[in-house]
């Protein structure tokens, strides 16, 4: 740690509290502010990641330029950018994105909300869990994708069928993790709350909820992956619009560059969400010693 080596000139002495009750022999707490970190130290993680990604893209472009393999087999980054331009010019990309985006946002949000609430309730109330456990186990053990033909029969090939499949994919990841979070609470903390005379609701609010936040966030993170799979597979099986459909058609017509465009949109969505959830996790995990 280079930043610890140099000692700043001023030491601040605090803790001179004016109360007779103060521990007489406790020494005052001496704190010395750490020197401010340089910009590249604070953003080290981002910076290193950025460099490796740029290096990868450059190498990819060079390999593609060598044309060892055809453009159909391995399009380079420049081909993908060109395909993106074509897609924009054709005018359908915006609609595809809007449809897929809608499917994702509605399906995922519903899954998150219902999954967290139901997970908390089922984790907390034993009998409610006994009642619903058979259904949860049944659906969790089934690959939900196979329900797609049924869902299409029930709600058609429009946006609704994709919302359902996204929901079913994401919901169980959130539900099961939230339940696990509530059930793995430290029993000594529950005893503590009881000892202070906390009501059921207070125990729930002060112990169960904050205690399961890390599990909930893990569930949400896993759910993004399931939701994106739902979109693509749902649209491949049948959809008038959407990124998954666009990619499927591109694949059927040997337009590899276009498939990569779709792939990047899906991946970027996943990356942004993962990153946002990580930020949130760090916010709630401030108490965990930094590794």
């Amino acid at each position: 740690m280079a930043e610890r080596a140099e000692r700043p000139p001023v030491a601040r002495v605090s803790g001179e509290v004016s109360t007779t009750a103060r521990a007489p022999q406790a020494p005052a707490v001496v704190t010395t502010p750490l020197p401010p970190q340089a910009w590249f130290q604070r953003n080290e993680q981002l910076l290193i990641g950025f460099v490796t990604v740029v290096a990868f893209v450059v190498v990819w472009q060079l390999v593609a330029n060598a044309r060892i393999w055809s453009k159909l087999f391995l399009p380079g980054p420049s081909d993908i950018v060109a395909a993106f331009g074509e897609l924009v010019a054709e005018g359908e990309l915006a609609q595809d994105l809007a449809v897929s985006g809608q499917e994702f946002v509605i399906g995922y949000t519903l899954a998150a909300l219902i999954g967290i609430v139901l997970g908390l309730v089922l984790g907390w109330y034993r009998r409610a869990r006994y009642a619903l456990d058979p259904f949860i186990t049944f659906f969790y053990a089934t690959p939900r994708i196979v329900l797609l033909p049924l869902i299409i029969i029930w709600v058609g090939i429009g946006i609704e069928s994709k919302i359902w499949i996204v929901f079913l994919g994401a919901f169980f990841a959130v539900l099961i993790n939230t339940m696990a979070g509530v059930r793995s609470l430290d029993p000594s903390l529950l005893t503590l709350a009881r000892s202070f005379g906390a009501s059921q609701l207070e125990v729930f609010r002060t112990i169960a909820l904050p205690g399961s936040v890390p599990f909930i966030l893990t569930g949400l993170r896993l759910a993004t992956g399931h939701a994106l799979i739902g979109i693509v597979v749902g649209e491949i099986v049948g959809a008038p619009h959407g990124i998954g459909r666009m990619m499927w058609i591109a694949g059927q017509t040997f337009q590899s560059s276009r498939m990569f465009v779709g792939l990047f949109f899906l991946a970027i969505t996943g990356v942004i969400l993962t990153y946002a959830l990580q930020k949130l996790e760090r916010h709630f995990d401030a108490w965990r010693p930094q590794r």
Binding site: G15, P24, V29, T191, R194, S195, F196, P289
Partner: protein, 262 residues
């Protein structure tokens, strides 16, 4: 009498084994207002079970426990338990943890903060208000645990081997600190321990429990004047009381091969 225990019988529910273990069998005990009582006994003798019942966490099979003449049947704000494990909420800071009981009590925010700060200072954690428990040493965590119990201003302070997990030096410091803090508040206190020296150093009376099922075997008055310096532990009279308790516990431990000495 502040606290009265009459023929207290407690069974411990063992769900997995499908039985009820007789943990405390007829404990009778009186504790006066402002008195510091230590309970010692062979391990597994039901000391902690008894203390949890006083806190209202466990139901009695028979007998009665009463505080100021009122029967104890549930946890209440007139008692506060200092746990063997610090049991701090890891996501709350030191100040937030000390505030916990006051929040449950419904103390107005500003007043609660002031009170919490006072007890943080009292236990010597000034300057660590914004630290999280995992950033503290074991001794500091126990100070926080103690401050949290004191902050709700209980009438009886229940301490369940609070220093058992600390290293020998920290334990001595904490014993001394506890006496200093107790001296300022003069709360009625019940202190469970398996450390005889600790019991004699802290208490006005030491109560020896029998091997399981626990019962009051013997009560010894510690007539060593306060304030007590840590050096008192080396004085002949202190050692004499200590060895009497030791013999008493050893008899019990010999009766129960499962319970090790002290």
């Amino acid at each position: 009498m502040k606290l009265q225990a009459r023929d207290v019988v407690i069974h411990h529910r063992r769900q997995r084994l499908g039985d009820m273990l007789l943990a405390v069998d007829g404990a009778t005990l009186d504790i006066a207002e402002g008195e510091f009582v230590a309970i010692v006994g062979p391990s597994g003798c039901g000391k902690t079970t008894f203390l949890n019942a006083v806190d209202g966490l466990l139901p009695l099979t028979s007998g009665s426990l009463s505080l100021d003449g009122r029967l104890i049947d549930r946890p209440g704000h007139d008692r506060a338990l200092v746990f063997q494990q610090p049991s701090l909420l890891p996501w709350r800071t030191v100040l937030g943890n000390v505030l916990y009981g006051l929040e449950i009590l419904g103390t107005p925010r500003a007043e609660a903060r002031q009170r919490a700060q006072r007890f943080v200072d009292l236990v010597g954690l000034s300057g660590f208000e914004e630290s999280y428990p995992l950033e503290l040493s074991g001794g500091m965590q126990q100070r926080c645990n103690l401050a949290r119990a004191l902050a709700v201003d209980p009438e009886v302070l229940l301490l369940d081997e609070p220093f058992a997990a600390l290293d020998a030096q920290t334990r001595e410091t904490m014993q001394h600190e506890l006496l200093r803090i107790w001296n300022e508040t003069r709360k009625t206190a019940i202190f469970i321990t398996h450390d005889i020296v600790e019991a004699v150093y802290l208490a006005d009376r030491v109560i020896v429990f029998t091997a399981r099922p626990g019962r009051v075997k013997e009560v010894l008055r510690v007539d060593i004047p306060r304030p007590r310096d840590l050096r008192v532990k080396w004085e002949p009279h202190f050692v004499e009381i200590q060895s009497r308790i030791w013999e008493s516990i050893r008899e019990e431990a010999a009766r129960d091969p499962l319970a090790a000495i002290a």
